[in-house]
Symmetry: C2
Subunit: 664 residues, 2 copies
């Protein structure tokens, strides 16, 4: 079987449900049925979105790990579905029509998803037969087609993050006022007249507004809309523009940058776009880019410009796709790691790259979006997430916000897998965080046939008993990306071709251990390799996509660094592995690693796979939450005080534990 996924540079990450949250007691959803799944592979959801203005329906396909709800899959990919309850099955608004997609050549008939008791209350018998369901209660465990009706509600709340609902109170506010004209008996200033008419806000005007105010007021017959962002009056627009309020959430990743255009009046996403960070030519990871700035003083401005270009190109794209005037985008939120944040702001990153790893500041000031090179409203604001440390940055704080790390009373482990792996553990009371240097293995670096998650990358490997590969873009396999690497090693351990120390079993033992696979175990030069894909029957091993002994070692080192990290944090809190009620796998790489494989190789604690949750692009979700709710934004600042950063690199026990963790 060959499955496909869009290359990540062109498609934002999918998003994933929180059935564990519900099952384990904190957010019970009485009508929800949890469907068992094995935590491997991908499912595809084909959305047909009807337009409220009568335009032809839009088609969107997304691929997500199994177990995600249809609602979350849609929402996190920028597809708006009515909802006011936060996906908890109570508002009965997220109505969609679902049908299974019949696999080509398969003989099974199309069948509808299970019916929950909320569905029974919501739909007629006929509708249920026709496939109507509440999207938040349907888990995608196989490929589905989903019809989404046009939006009908103007919700007071939006569902974002990992199963979180936020009450809409964006920093971007508008107030339409009709003012009395001045007279000799009432010579109040234009500003005072405007502010007197707005009773619930007391903003301070930007100079920009004072310059325009006299002429706009008079030209618009004193009927104007005040545009307020946080504490600042940033514009006065003629007439009533209260319904045009937009903001852009950026996940500024080292590898990938994702932008989501939000209608903050409605709380709904309008468009999503992603691209490779234009800083890539300066190095694949943060250390390489920091080093580049240390070699040549011209590099920092160039990296800053590359960040600006990445953000600006995406902003232009989402505005174009969403048919939104960039002048009506009044705020952006940026979630990035400490280095990406420093580079975007033009802050010298050198001390982030050398011990003792010190940031310029934990909380970057709010700046103008124009200062980031964005061509939006000229006084649009850009807010950044605060960072806990040089290697637990604003992206992780955004992720903690999106996953409610400080609001959930369960013991949870949050892992953002990447070259630098961030780890957070909460026992429901104390929260600890640290960073583990995992190296580039998950991004395909230092791996013989490693590649990024682009067309031709093997992302899923099953040995069942023959080799089955999932390949991105439905193409001829060209290499192995992070999730494929983890799958390959986990499967080889499972079938016994890799022993607990990570060595391939001797050639002579292989046929007994795995008769259908033994002939794939061969050598390139002196090194033993396992052939995953052979382009043609006569291909020599070095023409094949292989997993080498050295690749296994690389992955062992990476996973040992990570598991040493969470082991030490759990110990610090006096916890055992089994105490962990939920593991959140986050980030561009972490979200795609199969839960079953992660458990098998020891990347996460040995727990039932249903406790391992792919959390998706949590940094981007956090950025959206910050734009939709000032209360949530304040929560991000509070996290700085609630979370203790633990520096592991100076711990005496680190190396001992690291060696303990090397095996499978």
């Amino acid at each position: 079987m060959t499955t496909s996924r869009e290359p990540e540079a062109e498609e934002p990450l999918g998003s994933f449900s929180l059935d564990d949250v519900r099952r384990e007691g904190l957010m019970p959803t009485p009508g929800a049925e949890t469907v068992a799944h094995d935590g491997v592979g991908r499912v595809q959801l084909a959305f047909t979105v009807e337009d409220s203005a009568g335009a032809p329906p839009a088609q969107r396909s997304v691929r997500v790990p199994p177990g995600v709800t249809v609602f979350d899959s849609a929402s996190w990919n920028g597809i708006a579905i009515d909802s006011t309850c936060g996906g908890h099955g109570t508002c009965h608004k997220c109505r969609v029509r679902i049908s299974s997609v019949v696999e080509e050549g398969a003989q099974r008939p199309s069948r509808n998803p299970p019916i929950s008791r909320h569905d029974v209350k919501t739909f007629t018998r006929e509708q249920l037969d026709d496939g109507w369901r509440l999207a938040c209660l349907v888990q995608a465990t196989r490929d589905l087609a989903v019809d989404v009706p046009p939006l009908t509600t103007r919700p007071k709340a939006a569902t974002v993050g990992v199963g979180r609902q936020v009450i809409l109170r964006p920093a971007v506010q508008k107030r339409y006022v009709e003012l009395d004209e001045a007279t000799l008996a009432d010579q109040r200033t234009d500003l005072q007249r405007l502010l007197d008419a707005i009773d619930d806000l007391e903003p301070t005007p930007d100079l920009h507004v004072l310059r325009r105010l006299p002429s706009v007021l008079r030209a618009a017959d004193h009927k104007v809309t005040a545009v307020v962002v946080d504490e600042a009056l940033i514009d006065v627009e003629p007439g009533d523009t209260t319904q045009q309020r937009y903001a852009i959430a950026f996940d500024l990743g080292t590898t990938t940058v994702v932008a989501t255009l939000l209608d903050v009046a409605l709380g709904t996403p309008v468009a999503v776009a992603s691209m490779l960070n234009k800083q890539q030519p300066y190095g694949g990871d943060v250390i390489t880019r920091i080093s580049a700035t240390m070699m040549d003083p011209e590099t920092l401005p160039r990296l800053q410009q590359a960040a600006a270009d990445s953000l600006a190109e995406l902003a232009a794209q989402v505005c174009r796709e969403g048919d939104v005037d960039p002048l009506q985008v009044y705020e952006v939120a940026v979630a990035g790691n400490a280095t990406m944040t420093a580079l975007a702001l033009g802050i010298d990153p050198e001390p982030l790259g050398v011990a003792p790893f010190v940031m310029s500041t934990a909380q970057p000031p709010t700046v103008l979006a124009a200062d980031l090179g964005l061509d939006l409203h000229p006084r649009a604001r850009a807010v950044f997430f605060p960072a806990l440390g040089a290697y637990v940055g604003g992206d992780i704080v955004a992720g903690m916000l999106a996953t409610g790390m400080d609001r959930d009373k369960r013991t949870r482990l949050f892992i953002d897998v990447g070259t630098n792996c961030e780890i957070v553990v909460s026992d429901g009371d104390r929260i600890l965080s640290t960073a583990a240097p995992a190296g580039p293995a998950f991004e395909g670096g230092a791996i013989r046939c490693g590649m990024r998650a682009a067309d031709g990358a093997i992302e899923v490997v099953k040995l069942d008993p023959q080799v089955e590969l999932g390949v991105i873009g439905d193409a001829e396999p060209r290499g192995l990306c992070g999730s494929g690497l983890v799958d390959a090693v986990a499967e080889l351990v499972r079938v016994g071709l890799l022993d607990a120390s990570g060595r391939f079993v001797p050639d002579e033992q292989a046929p007994a251990v795995a008769p259908a696979l033994a002939d794939r175990l061969t050598r390139i030069g002196e090194e033993r390799v396992f052939v995953l894909h052979r382009p043609h029957p006569e291909a020599a091993p070095d023409e094949c996509v292989v997993l080498s002994q050295r690749d296994v070692r690389e992955l062992q080192f990476a996973k040992a660094a990570i598991s040493t990290g969470w082991t030490l944090l759990l110990e610090e809190l006096g916890l055992e592995h089994r105490d962990v009620q939920q593991v959140l796998m986050a980030g561009s790489f972490g979200s795609y690693i199969s839960a079953a494989s992660a458990v098998r190789i020891g990347l996460v604690p040995k727990l039932p796979v249903l406790r391992i949750v792919s959390a998706g692009n949590v940094a981007g979700e956090g950025a959206k939450m910050a734009l939709l709710s000032v209360r949530e934004r304040a929560g991000a600042a509070t996290l700085l005080e609630e979370v203790t950063y633990v520096e592991l690199s100076d711990r005496a026990e680190f190396n001992d534990r690291f060696v303990d963790q090397l095996g499978f």
Copy 2:
């Protein structure tokens, strides 16, 4: 007699003492002797300023109305003299050596100024004989030469404004710190480390600082100086730069712009410069300039640029003259009327020019000095004074601050004479303000031989019994400036050639009334004129500098507008003319009008001339106070609440009173 004064575009205005303040009880200066003077003419002070660094002494000459103290004359012209008591005769620090200047050809010997009892306590007999005196106790009533010793003290207070002393607490603060380097056990951010070391301030960093902070800290071995302006951390400089702290006070007048460079660490002026406002080509008064913006949308940016160029040129000049690095100027304060302020900030001024005369805002926001086109520290701040109304602007609020209008319990009348004349009356409890449209007469406009106070302008006129003229620049008289116009009319009224209604007496009566002057009363065409200066004996009347009947009418209208203004304000407070204990004549024109003449023509209430005080460039003084003391700056904001703006243009009684006030 011909006296001279520097043209105002090249020389800042002189400054003037407050003997009246002392005499009338609020600020008693026990040792001060008030020297009687007649309130007319000018005196010249020639300062020789010794340099503390050993450079050759600097020579500076200033011309001021009689009665000013030597200390104030120096201080307001940017010449620093030691003082810590505010010029009240108590600190005994303002020691100078004074000698009279013998008039050329005069037979009188040089004589020293009177000796006060404070002088006796301060100096030896020999020093007193040698001319040593305390500068704050010597009134200049004749031309003096003054030797100023180098500064020896670092005062905690500075004397500015009209006899006001402010405790030095500038918004610009510096803190030198030596920080511990970061370790793995102490990974505080660079910013936190810096802020932790500064215990008395909690500034918010500009992005500019965060960009530089990592490299500056490390390059400077963690020994740095934090530069704080108000609530903002605007820079971090290597090493200890705490002694280099500068700011520039701007008086942004419609006609003249004055800049004073201040050492805010010492509270002393470093250099002063002035120039004609580069907006002059767009019109001499605010209405003409506002009209220009209404005709052509390109004019507002041009006027903004002209303001920027004026400020920038002066800033560069004072930095050059004071040998101060512009990068060490961290703040500027701008006092200007509402139109000048709007134009400098690029705010559409149109509603200021048409009824009901509405401002965009009463309090412009703090901006970057760079936004005003100034090339100082890139993050230097620019603060503006708030305005009470479209025609009682920030310059007047600054003047009220400088003259302590809200702190003095006496009944005082403040008049800033100009095309728009601002009037403030305080009974020691309530404060009222208004604006009177005086027209261009005081600026030489609509006057037959009118001209601005430039070389060749007659500024003093005495008919005693022959015509005696004081001419600016010691040149051939070319015309008549505002103070000369007032003098000429007042003297003609005094000698009887003008009657109480403002008409020249019939030709046949003139020889009886003023035999020595009657032949100067003649005609140009039908109009009667009085010849002030005849370039050669055969000159025809239209070749002469004359005062015409129509000129007298213009002045009558101007003074009637003004006196109607203060009459209505006094009535509003239930006060009589005689209740006024002090009249402050302020502004470029008002400060130069002779007190005696002002009383005679009724421009001010009929009071003893010693109650009429030339207050000098009070707007500039207020700007200096705002830079030297955040407490005073807050006081300016408080004034907005304490002062009631009275709109006269819609008052029914205005026209009746106006007619009453037309006569002399």
